[in-house]
Symmetry: C2
Subunit: 129 residues, 2 copies
Amino acid sequence: MQAAEAEWTPSQCRARDILDRIGDKWSLYVIATIGDGTKRFNQLKREIDGISQRMLTVTLRGLERDGIVTRTMYPVMPPRVEYSLTELGRTLLENVTAFVLWAERHVDEIEAARARYDARAAEEVEPFA
Amino acid sequence: MQAAEAEWTPSQCRARDILDRIGDKWSLYVIATIGDGTKRFNQLKREIDGISQRMLTVTLRGLERDGIVTRTMYPVMPPRVEYSLTELGRTLLENVTAFVLWAERHVDEIEAARARYDARAAEEVEPFA
DNA sequence: CTGTATCCAAATCGATACTG
DNA sequence: CAGTATCGATTTGGATACAG
């Protein structure tokens, strides 16, 4: 397709499906919320605003499959399951944290940019109303 | 909503909608593909594998609105439009790049983890087949 | 070339009910 | 408590047609 394209692009490399996974709706939050510690299922559910039981399960399974999260089940009643990051997961956590910090640092700047953009768009519709 | 929640979690902070934006399907690739340079619309479309015209437009508008991408239009025929990162966008690019590099560095490890997980899952269905 | 508009298919997601 | 199963609503996204 892009045989003439000598340059490397992220969307064409082998890491694509890994990037896609992290780019899903919840993985980033799950990783950030587990953090350095150990968390139980419902604890995560409470702390991640808006996530449904289903999506937490699906996301955790995906991260477990990728070797980013470990799942430890204690065969007691009621069941107790603990999640924490693997060593690999903790290297990813550094990136996630950097990213969250970036967002925090620039939240005002971005909201201002949005306001400017929206005002500009409204103006173009009604220039001098 | 979460007034009783004293603890800070990334999913409840003001940066939430910013993180959500970057976590969409294409933003990361668009940012990485524009990179330090300047790219035209169809150039991006060619280099980002699998993106449709519609989604490239939608993603670029979102990034432009957030002040991450600038759009420069030359009023010629045929139209020529160039996209590049703003200063803010370039600070984000650093995070994106770190993230892409992380994925590249660990792609083998993750694929191995996936294979292990899948083998394990198959085993549990047919323990000694 | 760089879009916008419309329509439709598919994936995603949340609510609910149920299980060990 | 920690899930699984199912279903319907919503969202997303691709294909197509068309415009400046």
